[in-house]
Assembly symmetry: C2
Homo-oligomer: 272 residues x 2
């Protein structure tokens, strides 16, 4: 049974830990760490099988774990991914936005090849990454259209320069259209979806992102259209926000759990 070290004990980390503790993921959670020790203590208190709370992130991967799961932050990835791989651990990355930095991507990819370790990026809150990565070399265009309630967009850096009053929007309105690279800079809450789609397809400078504010929706909707010699792929996911953490889609958590379950199981693996 694989031993897992968890980096990040917030809402997502907690749900992953509970999936391990309840046997949905057939593994053993042996070590956990969070910058905020109270979060680690709080998480441990919720689990039947108590993991060891370690004092720093390096102790996660220097201990005899098989897999480290990051559910912390982009900085946690940039700062620690290489050292985790050098400690000969596989790694699941939830904060896939970190890999939009090409130098970070290259360092991690090279380390995987050299050290024969694997980094896993769950599909997150979108669907169809299985098909898009398969046709990567034949793609002509990839467009992501994200639709959210105006309240979910509040506070984005975009509004520092563009004086749109979100409270006055009374019908679905396109408020941004540009590259994934720009979208990530201006709408940090959309980072992981844009990042994962960019990495699996045309990269962040060729992937187009549209953001629509819709005062009538309660869901976070991501629609992807990809075209090329193979034909056309359209996928749309209307995500119900997670009840514990409305900023996260339920699918993002479920896809992380499925990714880790699959890593920890010898069985029939479905899908590309």
């Amino acid at each position: 049974m694989k031993r897992i070290g968890l980096l990040g004990c917030g809402s997502i980390g907690t749900q992953i830990a509970i999936a391990i503790d309840t046997g949905i993921i057939p593994a053993k959670l042996t070590h956990i760490f969070d910058e905020d020790k109270e979060k680690s203590v709080s998480l441990a208190s919720k689990l039947k099988n108590k993991p060891e709370i370690v004092e720093n992130v390096h102790l996660l991967s220097s201990n005899p774990v098989d897999l480290v799961v990051e559910a912390a932050s982009q900085d946690a990835v940039s700062d620690n991914a290489l050292s985790i791989l050098q400690n000969r651990k596989d790694l699941v990355i939830m904060s896939s936005g970190a890999l939009l930095d090409e130098s970070v991507f290259e360092i991690i990819s090279d380390a995987c090849k050299e050290l024969k370790k694997t980094v896993y990026l769950p599909s997150g809150a979108i669907s169809g990454i299985d098909a898009i990565k398969s046709v990567k070399n034949e793609l002509d265009s990839v467009v992501l259209t994200t639709t959210k309630h105006p309240n979910s967009l509040k506070g984005a850096k975009f509004f520092d320069d563009f004086k749109i009053n979100l409270d006055e929007i009374n019908e679905p309105s396109t408020i941004f259209e540009g590259t994934a690279s720009e979208a990530v800079r201006l709408f940090p809450k959309n980072i992981n979806v844009s990042a994962l789609l960019s990495i699996s397809g045309l990269g962040s400078h060729e992937t187009i992102v549209k953001i629509i504010a819709d005062p009538n929706t309660t869901k976070n909707t991501h629609e992807i259209t990809a075209r090329g010699k193979f034909g056309q792929i359209t996928t749309k996911i209307e995500n119900v926000p997670d009840s514990d953490n409305p900023r996260t889609s339920r699918l993002a958590i479920l896809s992380a759990i499925e990714t880790i379950r699959s890593i920890c199981t010898s069985d029939i693996k479905i899908g590309t």
Copy 2:
């Protein structure tokens, strides 16, 4: 570098072999087999790095290969999957329809667990299996709508009992709606798509399949709608038929190549 044995040297097997031979898949094709030896000889003649042509299917997995790739038939899966796993080889299955037989599925799944080997099922000609398998336990309904030119449906068993003249269809017409289990029996050419979707989600008795004959289309279109507590997933793929084998969608071949490439690489693995 992983050593691959190929079971089936038809159109799909040939394209996989060429992907290995040209380095798209970083592996070594060491042994090949086909019931029709001429196909093996013809395939070998197209490759720079000549594999050994073996005389029976058992020699594929008794030789020192790491992975067997099946691109032959459902019977080839039912007859040989267990023995391949018992020979301690991982296995990629293209003819996923074989796994709709619950006893076959169970034997293969149990063998994977017991022998610590893995069977891989590429997503094939559909998209979004990454999301659907993630929400498997929260699904209320899954519907697959396949749209094809009437000519692509000719010869299906369905028409033995239902006297529809496909040549007289002059607008998009729903000609079948039922369970995936029934669809597979009546429309054998749709087997792998219906099978893979069933296995990843609600099973073949709960997955609904609609088949539409559209005289105006040149593509094979598969649309999936899945609903549940998580929200709703819709994916649509308009597949251009493969130029070498019009009965196969280009995506089906590309997703097989991507699956095998990923198995043979230590790198960043994108998607659930």
